[in-house]
Symmetry: C2
Subunit: 630 residues, 2 copies
């Protein structure tokens, strides 16, 4: 069927359902959504469950949009006129993808008005649907710039979304029915995640990361399966860590023009980390894989989905994201392929334990035949202590070092581990388990924290309550201080005061941590605490193994005299016990499990244990293989 005929068909079906008095002017695919244009969006909204009923009957994600949306600049003026000044509006973000305007205000209640009167006035005036949120307590420049950029390219984006919308809803032409997964990275290794999922109709790339500690550590992107790049229907990111998304912009350099799906938080975090990655790589090798222009291209082509939203991303593939508990916005990507043909989930990195920041990863799915599951801590001995024990051990290490007048370096991923450690240290000082010393945050950590406060809906209920109901935001505690310059680093290193430094990169492959190590490694009073996984080939792993001399650049070496400690238990990954428990709780029980994203031993060990314990067919694939699912 021609796409125009299909749209006519859909319009007829919608007309038949819509009560008299509401006129549907047009329906159009925009990205994964079916947009209903009307002069009466308000009446539409008043009809209880009408949109839900249409969505269920047409099996589409439905958005209702007024025919004419007020120009954002004029609309902004109108909003500011209607809302009393003491609401403290800090940002207005008009999102043409959804027809919503996000109103950030210090007093959201004032924007809403008594019984929602002010909000109704806004809608009447501007057509855009207002969504009110509390102004994030820490301003994120990434979020600000992302929104600015998306505003600037809104016309191009509208065009892009229409093109993609029509592509997603094209007819299915092949008689064959099959599903294949090709492993392009992160098999029997940690890092450079990349999978190609293909059917006779469509091709989807899942993650596209770098391998830490390895400058050539790209996935096998040169194999013919993914060419031409525009034959890909979608790129789907599970979370923002660089080993899962660093090379997404590279795809645009080589001609990809299609969409990249992620959660909103993952989009913002990944842009931040990609730009930082370019700086780090430029410093180290003077050869960057792409430029900030390609990061913009990625942003322009990004489509964000919230947890639980079932979304068509190809004629025969629906994607649903579920909480993975690993970092902010991290998701398990669940694909429903064909009309009931097959269901497959890619966990990405996930944590099946509750952490200070997040709830445990989802284990319940409507249907599930196969799972590609991480196995970073999949080895039979890869047990992690409890979060409580880990924190006790961290407190002890901090006490020891501070008491002898030393400084503590904690290398950490900017996103995830840093915030967990911050929360633990803040509570330790508040409850006087450790002395009150400065906690310096270097690298992207403050910015990453700001993004956390922009997306409070991803945090677990306890932390949300603490921040928003109890008015106690631990991220804003006095002990934390941001470091922005090399001279400030010099001051900290030179000062006689004990302190804690949380800094990137988490595996000591570049970043400001190297300056601290250079300045503090000689003194045995100081301490280096590993709180995260150190991949093979990284400086972090070498120091963990006991290397006493670490090369810095081409000429210098750093002598490692400071004390080295590894505090396990802060991980954003499930440990062995949790991985096995996760499989046990998976509902429904899948037919096949593939253990990926783990050292060779861990992946094989986990696969074999799952098979023995649960009698599920398992594989520990190697890179460059293709598995036929159905």
């Amino acid at each position: 069927m021609l796409i125009e005929d299909r749209l006519k068909d859909l319009k007829a079906k919608i007309d038949a359902k819509v009560p008299a008095g509401i006129k549907v002017s047009e329906v159009e695919f925009e990205g994964p959504e079916l947009v209903i244009y009307t002069d009466d969006p308000k009446k539409f909204a008043d009809e209880a469950d009408l949109i839900k009923i249409l969505a269920r009957e047409l099996r589409k994600r439905i958005v209702v949009r007024p025919n004419i949306l007020e120009d954002p600049e004029i609309a902004a003026d109108k909003v500011n006129n209607v809302v009393p000044e003491d609401a403290g509006i800090t940002d207005l973000f008009f999102d043409p993808d959804t027809g919503e305007v996000l109103i950030e205000a210090e007093k959201p209640g004032v924007v809403i008005g008594k019984n929602g009167t002010t909000l109704r006035d806004i809608t009447k005036e501007i057509g855009w649907t207002p969504k009110v949120v509390r102004t994030p307590p820490i301003e994120s420049s990434t979020v600000k710039q992302t929104r600015q950029y998306l505003r600037a390219v809104k016309d191009e984006r509208k065009e892009f979304l229409r093109t993609i919308g029509r592509r997603i809803h094209r007819d299915i032409t092949s008689k064959d029915k099959w599903l294949r997964v090709t492993t392009l990275g992160c098999c029997r290794e940690v890092g450079r995640a990349a999978f190609l999922m293909s059917t006779p109709e469509s091709k989807i790339l899942i993650d596209c990361g770098e391998k830490p500690g390895n400058n050539d550590g790209y996935p096998y992107l040169y194999v013919p399966e993914i060419y031409p790049l525009n034959s890909l229907d979608a790129v789907v990111i599970t979370h923002a860590h660089l080993d899962h998304c660093a090379l997404v912009p590279l795809l645009y350099k080589y001609g990809y023009e299609g969409p990249v799906y992620s959660t909103p938080a993952t989009r913002d975090l990944s842009v931040m980390l990609q730009l930082d990655y370019l700086d780090v790589v430029a410093n180290e090798t003077s050869k960057v894989p792409y430029s900030s222009k390609e990061v913009q291209q990625y942003l322009k082509h990004s489509i964000t989905l919230n947890y639980g939203s079932v979304t068509d991303i190809a004629p025969d593939v629906k994607l649903t994201y579920h909480n993975a508990g690993h970092i902010l916005g991290s998701a398990i990507a669940h694909f429903h392929v064909g009309d009931g043909l097959y269901n497959i989930a890619f966990t990405g990195d996930f944590n099946y334990a509750k952490s200070r920041l997040f709830g445990p990863a989802t284990s319940q799915f409507p249907r599930l035949e196969a799972v590609f599951m991480e196995s970073t801590y999949g080895g039979s001995n890869d047990m992690q202590p409890s979060r409580k024990d880990a924190e006790e051990k961290l407190y002890e290490a901090v006490n020891d070092t501070v008491n002898r007048g030393g400084k503590i370096i904690i290398p950490a991923f900017a996103v995830g581990r840093s915030q967990e450690v911050m929360l633990a240290l803040e509570e330790g000082m508040r409850l006087e388990k450790i002395p009150k010393v400065k906690v310096y945050l270097d690298g992207m950590i403050k910015e990453a924290t700001a993004i956390h406060t922009t997306y409070p809906e991803y945090l677990n209920p306890d932390l949300r309550k603490l921040i928003f109901q109890d008015g106690m935001n631990p991220f804003l505690a006095d002990c934390f201080e941001q470091v922005d310059s090399s001279s400030k680093r010099g001051d900290i290193i030179g000062s006689g005061d004990p302190c804690v430094i949380i800094t990137t990169s988490g595996m000591l492959n570049g970043g400001p941590v190297m300056e601290y190590l250079y300045g503090l490694a000689q003194d045995e009073k100081n301490m280096l605490i590993f709180v995260g996984y150190q991949a093979d080939g990284t400086t972090g792993r070498r120091i963990q193994k006991g290397w006493k001399e670490i090369p810095l650049g081409r000429r210098e070496t750093i002598n490692i005299n400071l004390e080295i400690k590894t505090v396990d238990g802060f991980s954003g990954h499930s440990d062995r016990k949790q991985l096995m428990a996760y499989v046990n709780h998976l509902n429904p029980r899948p037919e096949k499990i593939f253990t990926i994203h783990g050292d060779e031993k861990s992946a094989i060990d986990l696969a074999s244990s799952i098979y023995k314990r649960y009698k599920i067919e398992t594989h520990a694939p190697r890179n460059l293989e293709t598995y036929r699912m159905v």
Copy 2:
């Protein structure tokens, strides 16, 4: 290194080895060979072992060629002048690929002359290297036309071989080392053989056949791995049966311009069968996948290799063909990948028993890590009777039918099974085990037999001796009579005399056999004898299963009243016992065996038995999977 520099380099090395007095004018890659041009080819040839030494040191296949080759027409005149008329020259084939002239004569001894004098005179006169063979006892129009065509396109071919030669000998650029095999057909099924073997440097397609009994039965040629088709370095055919090579010409329709490797006999047989296939498909569906033009393209791009010749076909891949014992020219394709990286063999169809026509398949290889092995008769109950028992059973069936005045239809592949049955029937009549009745040959069987007599070097020593030393050519026996027309078929069907009809197609999916069945199936005096494997979905399999009504075209049906017999044991395939024995005798023992080209049950059963008995890792792959070898 630029290819020109590499050639200079090779020339310098050759110059250093060649004795004074012999001048090398030029060296050039032509297809897989390194050609040394010289004014003194004779002197070159006189230096004992010089070419062998160069070949070993340079690790190249070396051909020495005079700077100027006499124009073939003038050279032909000269040969005819030098050779006495009573030699009975029947053909001269000047092959510019090798610089040889093939002289077919009824009395080869006369062409050679006393102590080789005449031969030396020829060489002196024309520069071409003469190779003398006895005129085949049955003239093959396919061979004649093939040679004519290759003569006509010799300039294009020379250009093509230079291009391919330079491509084969390009530099290796990738640092990665891996080997993958992707299954594109014939996995857990019989038919549509096709495998893609790929490394970071090169891509090779092995076989490209159709699935009998299935008009859409193509391999999965639409997957992205093999595109663009010109990214393939080579297509390698194991043997001429259509389920291994029917769709090779289709590749040229879709833009492939590279070489197709096969043995010389496979090239001629496959061209014959492809042209016949086009006729059969046109009759049945009026929609042919390609035309005879693409068969010509295939021929123009074919490169033939004899058993045992180690040949560069890509910068990192050497191909060697070994006898497979299945049909004329059938080969096991052995690939040496990288410089000692990996060795992998694709058996194609093979027979590990000695047959009337061929010796048993090769089981000895210099190195061997993995084998893709057919499993047509891989099920634990797939035992075939001995050839002797099979022949006794055939004789019994013939006797029964002839005695009751009936006719016998034996559907058979034109190539292989037909000749085996012909030899058995001829001997049966000669030794008076069965009555002397006419044996009609219909379809391509006579032509296929002619090609057998053109390539006697592929036949086993006993048969060669019978034909060439004892002067007894069983293929020429009086009992055999060719059928060329529908009217003759009518005469045979209408006549009251008992007879045997060997006819194509072997699985009753079209071909003249359908006319005989239509005419003879009603009469229960007649008999239909299956001597070969009947694939699922073919009419043959249906009749074997006991169907009593067979649709013919859209309107008619054939009622099956004649007696149905299956005489196992004439197979060109190894049976279960032989497959296991083959694995046992493989030397060296491979690390991995993949059972392919067999029904699902057979492939899995064989894989599991090999693993249990020999502790070799086995897989019964499915189509569309990719296995990482190293």
